[in-house]
Symmetry: C2
């Protein structure tokens, strides 16, 4: 019952994750109340989104230039690489402001059930980057931190990458750390409500206090 243009917008919004028909209608209707200038600017940005947004040649984070701002930043430690599944994970790290190294974005994870294999994500590019770093004389690779999600596919992806990097270490006869994010209870967690697996991991990985 929405008029054509509004209906088309609503149907488009419905394709977005977490947005159902009612929410899509509500959002489309809300858009109608915004200033025309803002809508036109938004439309312009949407139409140019894919043309403008590229992947960083080095780390495959999103950027509008050849390399991303993080890779360009000379103050960041190029020898410390956090490997993540998605550019959104980079935002999580950067918002938390807890890390002064650089990233490598895989753009996915190995997920056989959904037919995503190692060759479908940026693993080859990571291995090439690691090889380049260990062969170059002026750069020093200290640590690869595997920060894929802590679920089954994320673990499998981390394990696959770990094995591939170990091969490079052996072949090139170099040494650097390969680490994984810690499992444990989240901050402010209540033990009563913690799930069994998390509690088990938190106990196994307990630290000296």
């Amino acid at each position: 019952m929405l008029p054509g243009n509004l209906k088309k917008i609503s149907l488009f919004l419905e394709r977005l994750p977490g947005i159902g028909e009612k929410t899509a209608n509500r959002l489309a209707f809300f858009l109608l109340k915004l200033p025309e200038k803002d809508l036109e600017e938004f439309a312009f940005n949407i139409a140019n989104l894919k043309k403008k947004t590229k992947m960083c040649k080095n780390c495959f984070n999103l950027t509008e230039e050849e390399t991303c701002l993080i890779c360009q930043d000379k103050r960041r430690d190029q020898g410390l690489i956090v490997v993540v599944e998605s550019p959104l994970d980079v935002i999580s790290f950067e918002t938390a402001n807890i890390f002064q190294g650089v990233y490598h974005v895989l753009h996915g994870r190995i997920d056989p059930l959904n037919r995503v294999g190692p060759e479908d994500i940026k693993i080859k590019e990571l291995l090439e980057r690691v090889e380049r770093l260990v062969t170059s004389s002026d750069k020093f690779l200290k640590e690869i931190i595997l920060a894929t999600n802590l679920d089954m596919e994320g673990e499998a992806t981390a394990l696959y990458i770990k094995n591939k990097i170990e091969e490079i270490k052996k072949k090139k006869n170099v040494n650097f750390e390969i680490t994984r994010l810690a499992y444990g209870l989240p901050m402010g967690a209540n033990l009563e409500y913690a799930d069994y697996m998390t509690l088990k991991k938190a106990l196994e990985n307990r630290i000296r206090f």
Copy 2:
């Protein structure tokens, strides 16, 4: 840390109701994966949204023509008018497929705290429509169903409109029903969890079984 264009899109999405920063980022990022053709079409629709979408001259529902499809529909009873606050309410009725009359969309409700008075919504237009209907010879006004929301502002708006229509009835010496949606327990409700006011209304408005 999102590149410029993506960031602008994310900031725009954050202005929509119920969308926070993280969701906006996630949606913007999802957009990046959609086909360029779809994005361009969406952008086109957004840019033209306000130009194309108008209000029906008769009922003020949204339309791209002079009058909306519901008002144009000869099979619908023009003498049965449901008065609602928003075009989204029309969609609710139409989706439920429970009503064969027509609508009048107020585009708001009387809400003094937010400085919305009777003159700010389509009440004058409703009263003019009612006068037109009772004066015309070939149309027969049977009932005005006040379907504003069942909260304080909705009730006040319904009451205000009721009084104004009663004046017309008296002045024109005509008779038709003015009704209000029923209060009561929702379908499948559990009495244990029903709020006191609803339960009270459900008891007061009990029906013969």
